[in-house]
């Protein structure tokens, strides 16, 4: 009886791990798309509303998905408090704060972090262009992530379940 329970646990755990891997890969794509959408919202605030970055973050934060909504609202709040911290530092610090909730790779996080340093343009078109550039780069990352998801994401649950069953047979 105990052996049977152990076998079920092992198989179930392996399958769960596989499903979790697939979920992680899909979540990464979703979060990349959400980041892209948040940047698009900021870009339109900058281009059409000529809103300062902090205000653009507030508006985008009210419409973006979590965890980016929280991130953008915190950037706005900290900028408004005006403790003297430079905008790129605020941006990076708040991005670090939501990092545990992000499923993105280090490169993708770096891409978003670098955006904070791309501020202070005298021309709104330049500021919008830097946001657009990051969005385009995110699009490339999404394509790569989708390819990865299509390959690894589909096979992960089956491979994990098979590995679990094999381990069960070996240990039986």
């Amino acid at each position: 009886m105990l052996r049977l329970a152990g076998a079920l646990l092992l198989c179930g755990g392996s399958l769960g791990y596989g499903l979790l891997t697939r979920y992680g890969l899909r979540l990464r794509i979703r979060q990349l798309r959400q980041a892209q959408e948040a940047l698009r919202l900021i870009e339109s605030e900058v281009s059409y509303g000529k809103a300062p970055l902090a205000l653009a973050c507030r508006t985008a934060g009210s419409r973006a998905a979590q965890p980016y909504a929280a991130f953008l609202c915190r950037v706005y709040e900290e900028s408004r408090e005006n403790a003297g911290t430079e905008f790129p530092c605020i941006w990076q610090r708040q991005l670090d704060a939501i990092r545990p909730r992000l499923q993105l790779s280090a490169g993708e996080i770096g891409l978003l972090k670098d955006l904070g340093a791309c501020s202070g343009y005298a021309d709104g078109r330049m500021q919008a262009a830097s946001l657009r550039q990051t969005r385009e780069e995110l699009e490339r990352q999404i394509c790569a992530a989708e390819q990865e998801s299509a390959g690894r994401g589909r096979s992960a649950p089956f491979l994990a379940a098979a590995a679990g069953m094999m381990l069960t047979l070996l240990l039986w």
């Binding site: 900058v46 809103a51 300062p52 970055l53 205000l55 430079e86 905008f87 202070g120 005298a122």
Partner: protein, 315 residues
Amino acid sequence: MERVEEIARLFPDFLRPLWQDALRRAEGLREIRLRMGRPALLRCGGSEWFLRKDGCGLTRKPQEGLCLREREIEAVWNHICGYSPYAYEDEIRQGYLTVPGGHRVGLAGQVVQEGRDAVRTIRHISGLNIRVSRQIFGAADGLLPYLYEERQFRNVMLISPPGCGKTTLLRDLIRQVSDGNRYGAGRTVGVVDERSELAGSYLGKAQNDLGMRTDVMDACPKALGMLLLLRSMSPDVIAVDELGGEADVRALEDAACSGVGLMVTVHGAGTEDIRRRAILQALLQKRLFDRFAVLTRTGGVCRIAAVYDGAFRPC
């Protein structure tokens, strides 16, 4: 203390402690001048002080003053405009930016032209002039008795050279006329604040108190602003700072002919100066103004030197 905090908040964290201490010591602060490679200068009343490089307040000796490097000027500028200079493009073209508290930051740097006469932007900022906005409640108390006859408001022109408190006086005058005072009931005042100096608007919000019946057209050319106010806001009195061009004068004539009261300021040392200015001749000949107040500055104190009636006779 609030003003000290407002000004100190214009500086990024690595410079702020130095400035907080200095600003607390700077009594009667009027402006701060930051120039690349030159000591930071504070004008307080009639005297000049420099920010000490050791961070211990102020000094009279320039050689002991803190010289700001290019990176520091850039950091201050970026901090002032929230790392979003593009959002203030129009103000930058005019050469200044209004910040929270209604203070004004003038800019010096490399001008990028658009066509022959238009400025596209200013880049490589090399100098900043932070002009401290002052609200002196009651500044116009001495002038008010001359501005009402049988509780009716009389058109007034304030005349003075730069730095004699014209704008400060006009600001208080607007507030008192708008809220009402012992000489007359409150009136609807329309303010055309082309340079955001009177209301000190920051992102559309007035930072200075201009009274409860005041409507402000912020950052709007004077002539256009007067027309818009007349069309849409039905003002009893229109206030304009630093009357200049021919279009302004024409718009002012139209306003006066519509039965609207006028409060304007012009540059000049006295009534003789404005009588010589060709652009103002039409206004003077038509006797659109009932009062002329001349302001002076003696020993760092601004005061009303004389008040004249419409025929330039002393009141």
